[in-house]
């Protein structure tokens, strides 16, 4: 199997992808949304065409808004992101946005998140992430507990985890770039996307590892001596098509969701598209080759 034979080339490619993602993450950083920082998000539109942003800036300044961001949304609207509003500001918001009736504005969406809720969600998100990673590691170690030669069962778990980290780093880096260039913000839906990627990406890895497990058992039963790299490569070849196809069907639905689905889940669909592609890639080009490399190390010792 050429992927196993030339695994160092693929490690280099994977390393480059991860490096680019990390650079993007650290250079651009993630922009936390109001879900996590607390604050106000208003989406509003003008039936009769929107006034220029400069005019709104003036109106917002008069109403005491500072440190906000104003972005055009759709044909006729804007999205305003600001800190927590005072009661007076909230009460006067429809007035403020319509310039005291000069440009009748419709508020389509208004969200306010208090700072404590933001902090709570931030903590919860981190714990959820850690919890999913831990559960999946434990689960894989458990599922492969009977396979211990020539690679111990927890090693399968650890490698699946390394592949998972790759699957998370890539969409996170992608999202950081998306945030930098298009203003995408990290909200609860983004965290949901990442957790979903974690759950799904491990499927493909499990399918390949399952086949390695089966082939090892068959070899043992038939008293056949086969190099581990050979077995792993054979397993990869046998499961290659199904790994790709199972991801393809999901990618189809995600593409549809991205292109014609609701606007509110567009970023979500895009994150999943990147993550699931990364997940399929890593199960084929990273997980199994790593398994072989680890086995080589152990033999050398």
């Amino acid at each position: 199997m050429f992927i196993v034979q030339h695994r160092n080339i693929f490690f280099a490619i994977t390393g480059a992808i991860v490096l680019v993602s990390l650079v993007s993450l650290f250079a651009f950083g993630l922009r936390p949304g109001i879900d996590f920082t607390g604050g106000t998000l208003v989406q509003f539109s003008y039936e009769g065409g929107r006034p220029p942003a400069t005019e709104l800036t003036e109106l917002l300044g008069d109403a005491g808004f500072t440190g906000y961001s104003l972005r055009e949304a759709g044909e006729k609207g804007y999205i305003l992101r600001a800190g927590n509003m005072s009661e007076a500001q909230r009460a006067a918001l429809p007035q403020t946005l319509s310039g005291s009736g000069e440009h009748p504005a419709t508020i389509e969406q208004l969200s306010e998140v208090g700072p404590t809720i933001g902090k709570e969600l931030r903590n919860k998100a981190l714990i959820a992430l850690a919890l999913v990673l831990l559960c999946i590691l434990l689960f894989i170690a458990f599922a492969f507990r009977k396979v211990s030669k020539p690679v111990s069962s927890w090693m399968y778990g650890l490698i699946a985890l390394v592949a998972l980290l790759h699957d998370v780093v890539v969409p996170v880096g992608f999202y950081a770039a998306l945030g930098h260039f298009l203003g995408a913000q990290v909200d609860t839906l983004f965290v949901t996307a990442i957790l979903t990627i974690l759950g799904f990406s491990v499927h493909d890895t499990i399918v390949v590892f399952d086949r390695v497990r089966e082939n090892l058992r068959v070899n043992q039963e038939r008293n056949r001596k086969e190099d581990f790299a050979e077995t792993a490569g054979r397993s990869l070849g046998q499961t290659f098509v199904r790994s790709v196809n199972t991801s393809l069907t999901v990618l189809f639905t995600l593409l549809v969701l991205y292109f014609i689905g609701p606007a509110s889940t567009r970023d979500f669909a895009l994150t999943l598209l990147v993550g699931i592609t990364a997940g399929t890639y890593s199960s084929i080009f990273l997980a199994t080759p790593l398994l072989v490399t680890v086995e080589r190390w152990r033999r050398k010792k």
């Binding site: 989406q43 909230r90 918001l93 508020i107 389509e108 969406q109 208004l110 969200s111 306010e112 998140v113 208090g114 404590t116 809720i117 709570e120 903590n123 919860k124 998100a125 714990i127 959820a128 919890l131 999913v132 559960c135 999946i136 689960f139 599922a143 609860t188 839906l189 949901t192 957790l195 979903t196 974690l198 759950g199 799904f200 491990v202 499927h203 499990i206 399918v207 399952d210 089966e214 046998q238 098509v241 199904r242 196809n245 199972t246 069907t249 999901v250 990618l251 189809f252 639905t253 995600l254 549809v256 969701l257 014609i260 689905g261 609701p262 606007a263 509110s264 889940t265 979500f268 999943l272």
Partner: protein, 439 residues
């Protein structure tokens, strides 16, 4: 053979029946899907309850009473199907916070919604510590000067506007007369009996309205609030207290409003995405897996009928994220079939009979299917715990989808495949069981 064909027929009929039921309940609008606020339009308000004046064991009681009061008030204003619920939140550092979540479908004016709830006054009776009348009561010193509340809005039966009889029978000062319920009556009687000569404060929305001295025990369960009201003020106060006085003060900590038009757009595009998503998956399955692919497609349609039926029965509140989860689950539902068919193909190539190959294909793919679905279920469970109501919708749909698809993709498609009884022999048979671009 006839047994399995009968089973296949039954499954098909049941599936078609569920599908028809889902369709007709939508067409006749007799049982529409429950839509979350982000799809139906409406306002969600989250309040923090300030329980600093409540003693530990009364917390649950006060929260229940708070919920009932707000619910009464919301119903009074004719909001259809409002949801008022309490929730315990916390920053996980041991600090917990009692919250009240109010969902008002159809109300898209945030300010109006806030006012609707905000006008509910908080009523508290608190005994003064010590015997000397404080020279000054400010909000910062209240908790130091007074004991926690003994009587709150939950003890109130009714409030009434009256005029005090002044000197010579001339009515002068407007007052509000409170009548307590049986609990309140007893507490108030005990309080006044045991504390004759001491002061107690009547607080409205945290502000001391009057701090009278207790002259004698009051066993009849009434109290008078007098605080230099104008007749209009007193009338409004009596009305608001009758609508319901809050047992504890609340503070608004988050709001979420979505206009109905935006929600309707999301439903439309979600529906379109769902239809095209299903079509794309079915076309792919037919193209790549041919006969088994056709069976997987039928199983997928059954899956959709079953899941939608469950959404209606449970009922699951659909959000934009939930719709996304459903569309995602369509793509994942056929994954088990793909694993099985690929495996079956291998077994056929190894020279097994069609029946054995299908049998072994299902049996051997099962472990992989089980293991990979468990990881999805782990994610769904954690997401459900993590989630705000929007994300909970996602987690529920996602988890449900994984479980149901295991049933349809395995049991249903196996039954159909055996029921058809087509052999992978001859040109046609081999073609039907083949896959990919090879003919």
């Amino acid at each position: 053979m006839w047994k399995i064909r009968l089973a296949a027929l039954v499954i098909l009929l049941v599936g078609a029946g569920i599908g028809w039921w889902v369709y007709s309940s939508q067409a006749s609008a007799s049982r529409p899907f429950k839509l979350g606020l982000d799809l139906s339009g409406g306002t969600q308000l989250v309040y923090r309850a300030d329980l600093s004046a409540i003693v530990g064991s009364d917390v649950a009681d006060s929260m229940a009473s708070l919920r009932d009061t707000i619910e009464r008030r919301v119903n009074l204003f004719g909001v259809s199907e409002p949801i008022v619920q309490t929730q315990r939140g916390g920053t996980l550092a041991g600090e917990t916070e009692e919250r009240l979540i109010v969902e008002l479908p159809g109300v898209t004016d945030t300010q109006k919604a806030i006012e609707l709830i905000g006008e509910t006054p908080v009523l508290e009776f608190r005994l003064l510590k010590g015997d000397t009348f404080p020279s000054q009561i400010s909000t910062s010193t209240v908790n130091k000067l007074f004991y926690p509340a003994v009587i709150t809005g939950k003890h109130l039966k009714s409030a009434q506007l009256q005029f005090n009889q002044g000197i010579g029978g001339v009515p002068n000062e407007p007052v509000v007369v409170l009548t307590f319920n049986s609990d309140g009556k007893k507490i108030f009687a005990d309080l006044t009996k045991e504390n004759v000569g001491r002061y107690f404060g009547m607080f409205l929305d945290g502000v001391a309205i009057s701090v009278p001295v207790i002259r004698e025990a009051i066993p009849d369960g009434t109290a008078v609030i007098s605080g230099n009201f104008t007749p209009e003020d007193a009338k409004e106060l009596a009305r608001n207290l009758n609508y319901g006085a809050l047992p504890v003060p609340i503070e608004l900590i988050s709001t979420q409003t979505v206009a109905g038009t935006l929600g309707a757009e999301a439903v439309q595009s979600g529906l379109a995405a769902g239809l095209w998503g299903v079509l794309a998956v079915i076309l792919f399955m037919l193209f790549w897996y041919r006969l088994p692919g056709a069976i997987a497609s039928v199983a997928l349609l059954l899956y959709i009928a079953l899941v939608l039926g469950l959404f209606l029965l449970i009922p699951v509140t659909l959000t934009a994220a939930g719709i996304a989860a459903f569309i995602l689950s369509v793509g994942m539902a056929v994954d088990a079939n793909i694993l099985i068919f690929e495996r079956t193909k291998e077994e056929l190539a190894a020279g097994k009979s069609t029946k054995d190959a299908i049998h072994d294909g299902f049996a051997r793919a099962w472990l992989s299917i089980r293991d990979s679905n468990i990881s999805s279920i782990i994610t769904a469970v954690v997401l459900f715990w993590f989630g705000t109501s929007l994300i909970k919708g996602f987690a529920l749909v996602f988890g449900l989808g994984v479980l149901v698809s295991m049933l349809t993709a395995i049991t249903v498609s196996r039954t159909f495949l055996f029921a058809l009884g087509i052999e992978a022999k001859g040109n046609l048979g081999r073609f039907l069981f083949g896959s990919g671009t090879k003919i």
